[in-house]
Symmetry: C2
Subunit: 440 residues, 2 copies
């Protein structure tokens, strides 16, 4: 026999055992359900693309991280590093057939050869939704509503979706006569939470090349607080003479109004003129989402409006708006917050196997439960009862069903509540109801 | 502006637009639901593995097809070509913590640099389930039940799961004194459907090195027909003196008995002693699944029992049994059979936008429908009604909801059945019920 090969995963990669995978599936299913409820349709694109499609889209840093190689046909290929660039390629290629507006979601793994620092994986999941082919603010408002619905559907109540609109800041910079400095100024502003006002002001002056007083104006705008109504009133007054910024204010005001009509609680959506997002890409509304009990993990769902998705591949302008759910970041937060049950089986019921001869009886009763929507596992071997119950408990099973020769003779089952360590005996016809009672 | 990059996918790869992706998601969700109902738990492994983990597992042919390259750290890495080899590596690495029996399912893309012949893609999905760490026939029986439940849940009634057990054939070969010829004889037998009895007999003699009369004995066994009960009776008699084959017969008899108790219709599960599966890997029960209306596409769900999953990575013997759903093959069949609706949106309802000022009203009513479980899209622009209805119809939307100033003044909505081209007007409070009536 040849020597064993050491079973191991690559550095920066990991397996998902059931205890991690069950929450991930639940999260993705919830996202799928919410996205669909708004009419977003699923698409998928290949993991591998021509390298030229992917390169140069996220800057030099991204290019360095791309998994790139020659395939069997000596093609220069690469693994996708996000879902946005493949979507842009997809849109350029297919939008003629699909028509606009086009609303899609996509979820899947992406690959980046990151330094495997704490929590950074080289394979991780993204989960995006976008509306393209329209500049309508209805889609910006809907994006905010989708994020709020998604967070609530995931079980969060204490969260804040923070919105801003780059038109405001761009309008202000225009007013100040430094519209051409928008990129470095926004990049500096994006660091506000991390490094504080003084350092951001300094960077705006040094890297951005604007005057200290101009930097203060920008930072004053970013620091504006109050209720949404107060802030909108104030912004309307301040920017009445600036068409660009006034448009931004009007769009934010309408977004808030539509979200309110859709039932979004005020506490879950607020204006925050300090959020900028690092990406140059965004041109209008900006979204970030914070868990109030875990602000340190950063935004768990971010996005914004952009002018043109696929300009590198097509002359057709495809404006759009969308956001991306940080799947792994959110799972890590949910785990830390105790929102993830320590369960490694999807079946809350285990049917204990007493003797092989009863397998047909076990199969019959297990199907009764499954048809009633209760996932049920039959233990495959007639091991000692203690071993079977230990197996059940270690996996997070809630109910054990037990029947040996006596029970089969009488047509009854023992229903054992594993948490309460209580046992009742019921007729076969009453098993489903008895199990339901324990699970409730 | 620089030249455009041509938007294209790699040869052998494809995008999934919504019309393909909606059925794929439905299929995978159904599989997930059925697998879970039996207590199979999800796992996931990385797309990339150390090349040494993947190489040499599927023979030279597989190795040639593997996408293999050097990563950033100059590691020899490769993309998985199936879900079984990574599962074997996962099991060897984690089974100590997870314990046995271990029931898992996994679904995801795999990559093979195939010649892109008709219908062969270089990226395709697999969807497997396995029970490892037990030799119990309860798991073999359950595997058959799972396949039947899965096929029914997918909407099929006219299908046949065909089961066999290699112990029978191995027992027969033992009886004939040519047990050492099992591998080439099985390989020849696997071609029976494709090339016919004569050519298989010839191959058994030439490549297998057995006598013509011995080949006839094997082919007589494979040709056995009759009801399951008749066949089992006959096999019990024929193999009473052969311990190995008798064990195979007993396991098949018990499998059929358990499946019957689980409610599997006789028409959906039958003995077929001619199925062999090409893989040397299998040692016991064998499963193949045929659509009676599409026999030509081959088996859509196949699997079997094996003695040792992870012998290359660990000394711990991990016997198991499982099967794999042919996702893309089944989708292609469903498409040809007209089982896939021509729908490219998950929302059966479109709210037509009459004027932007009503966006809050649209948002409110759309949420009413969503909370009632009805996926609803709001058209993002106040385009002409005809354009919006055309958009809806081209995507397969069933109901349009329309309200302009008059309707808002009266608090009513027009509910338009797009298939019947009928329209009713109802109060806002009655919209959900009216939509439900059309969708029923």
């Amino acid at each position: 026999m040849s020597a064993l090969i050491e079973p191991r995963t690559l550095k920066g990669f990991r397996d998902y055992p059931p205890s991690l995978m069950i929450p991930r599936e639940r999260l993705l299913e919830t996202a799928r359900r919410v996205y669909r409820s708004f009419g977003f349709a699923p698409i998928d694109t290949p993991a591998l693309e021509y390298a030229e499609i992917l390169l140069g889209k996220g800057g030099d840093e991204s290019d360095r991280l791309i998994y790139r190689f020659k395939d069997h046909g000596d093609r220069d290929v690469a693994l996708r590093f996000d879902l946005t660039v493949p979507f842009a390629r997809f849109a350029a290629q297919n939008i003629g057939k699909l028509g606009t507006p086009f609303k899609r979601y996509a979820m899947g793994p992406v690959w980046r050869g990151e330094n495997a620092a704490r929590g950074r994986f080289r394979e991780f999941w993204q989960c995006d939704f976008d509306t393209i082919g329209t500049t309508s603010n209805a889609s910006d408002a809907e994006t905010a509503v989708v994020i709020c619905e998604l967070m609530r559907a995931l079980g969060f109540e204490r969260f804040e979706v923070r919105v801003n609109n780059r038109l405001l800041l761009n309008g202000l910079l225009e007013q100040l006569g430094v519209a051409d400095k928008a990129v470095p100024v926004l990049r500096a502003l994006d660091k506000l939470l991390k490094v504080g006002r003084d350092k951001v002001a300094a960077e705006m002056v040094e890297a951005g090349g604007i005057a200290p007083a101009q930097a203060e104006s920008v930072l004053d705008l970013a620091a504006l607080t109050g209720s949404s109504d107060e802030m909108i009133d104030r912004l309307r007054r301040d920017f009445s003479a600036n068409a660009r910024a006034a448009d931004g204010v009007a769009r934010l005001a309408q977004l808030l109004e539509v979200a309110k009509a859709a039932g979004v609680p005020e506490a879950n959506l607020r204006l925050d003129l300090s959020i900028a997002r690092g990406l140059d890409y965004y041109t209008g509304t900006i979204y970030e989402t914070f868990l109030l009990d875990k602000p340190d993990i950063g935004s768990v769902c971010s996005g914004g409006r952009y002018d043109n998705l696929a300009g590198l591949y097509t002359k057709q302008a495809l404006p759009g708006v969308g956001a991306s759910l940080g799947v792994d970041r959110l799972l890590a937060a949910m785990e830390e917050m105790g929102l993830i049950e320590g369960v490694s089986t999807p079946a809350p019921v285990l049917l204990v196997q007493f003797a092989e001869e009863h397998l047909p009886g076990y199969a019959r009763v297990a199907q009764l439960l499954r048809r009633a929507g209760i996932n049920t596992e039959v233990y495959p071997e007639a091991k000692k009862m203690g071993a079977q119950l230990k197996y059940a408990e270690s996996r997070g099973v809630k109910v054990a069903l037990i029947a040996g020769p006596d029970e089969f003779a009488q047509g009854v089952w023992k229903v054992k509540d594993l948490a309460q360590r209580q046992e009742t005996t019921v007729a076969e016809a009453a098993v489903v109801e008895a199990v339901r009672a324990v699970l409730r």
